[in-house]
Amino acid sequence: MALSLVAYIREFARWEWARKFLAARTAPLVIPPYFRNYPELTGKTCTHHLFCMMACPAPGAIDVIRTPEGWQPRIHIGHCIRCGLCVEACPNGVLSSGRILESMFRDNTRLSFSFKIDVDLDKCMGCGNCAVACPVNKLIDAQMSHGGRASTDDLLLKLSDGKCRVLHVEKCTGCKTCEHHCPNEAISVARLLEAVHAPEEEP
């Protein structure tokens, strides 16, 4: 009996086990650098293109707000699903998340936006609200009359023959103001996202 007790103590009362038991420490949890976390600001100047908001798949996850320093994207944690599309869509590298921004420069990849305006001519009643409300039109021809008619053809949208015509779709910024101002739901703007490799350099 006594012998077995000694054998038991010799087996289990090992100094290194006792030391491990008393001094065991779990390694601290670290977030690896490649983990795609919530996007953070890099400090670069936001140019208010709003591509981050257009690319975002989660409703209400990102807003671009005006601060005393200028425009600034703000991520709403809890809505954000950490997909990182806003980081890839931003033309200026304002946001960064994990290694995404680094990878974009390294692999020369980005998401590019193009816009497509569809006008349903059967529904369009030629009120010209879209052409008047369009902020791009306002920059080109501030004197546009309330019916959407103008003398220049440089405009994005213009009314001719009583119907809305899309003249220069490449000028569209995807703001959807025309869509909101159409009383008849005749105009719709589609935001087309394209994942491209080796894009043209910004001038």
Binding site: P32, P57, E88, T109, L193, E194
Partner: protein, 362 residues
Amino acid sequence: MKRTVDVSIPVGPVHPCWKEPARVKCETRGEYVVSAEVELGYMKKGIERIMKGRPWQEVMFLAERVCGICSVIHNMVFIEALEHISGIEVPRRAALLRVIVNELDRMQSHILANFSYCYTIEHETLAMYLLDVREKVMDQLERITGARVTCAYIVPGGVRFDLRPEDGQALRQSLSAIEQEITRYTDMFSSGPLIAFRSKGIGILTKEAAREAYAVGPTARASGLGDIDRRLRHPTYQSLGFSPVVRTEGDNYARIMVRFQEIVQSIGLIRKCLDELPEGPIRGGGIPGAGEIVYSGEAPRGELSYFVKTDSAGRVLEISIQTPSIMNIEACCHYMLKGVSSLADVTSTFVSSDPCIACTER
């Protein structure tokens, strides 16, 4: 003399061995199961309804969230369906990177399925060992894609991030560690006498029954149906010389062993991809256009098909998803569970067919 009574015993919907809720109603004579019926519908998400009318960049993330375990294949099948609609070509490097990520996802899904089976037959040691290996696979997924579960890696025309040389190196090292451990655990599983007692000859699905019940995936491959593997029709897998793992026993043991063998096979496929990986672009560009298609791919649990109809702006007008688990659950309840001689084997047989209820009910 012992009297046997006919009783109807419900198993579930909440059961400690099951990851997700489902109810199996067993008609029993004593402990012998005469017939079984399954009741689903405890966790309907209505995700297909949410997808309608949204552009592809939103649906891509919703598709991943159909299933939390096999999210990569949902992304892959949806995006490849869009590519087939619009005729978008994928560069070779991107196609191989897709296979790498998909096979890593398949590995972690199979390891989780085997964990769950070992846990159900009360072999917790092996179960915990398997979960430990799964972490290594998940770490590699995170290293390549930036996230562990919802990777969001595949976009029309390519993939989102390139594989860096140092990541490829880490992946190779990790793969050899995983292969070593998986081989050891496969030996433990195949040579364990108690495991054999709980697994061999239980829940048999014959080849004819598997064909009749339209069983898919590892469940069908364990019953000798190899030609149902959709990877045989995928051009990238064809170029890699893929041939499916087939076993003929059709019992619980065979289903788990098929998964173990497929994990080793996936390791081989990933190594082959890494060897063949050419230099070049990872994105070909291309905007999804209008059209409709039924496209299927091989999820870890079997054939996954998407019906997608899009308009000219890449918005999804109609979508319908058929996931593999529903066929396997039917095969399990109507064929495997019939004749199971003990109620303790009902849970393990159900788990061995790897039911994913979140997929099934979407």
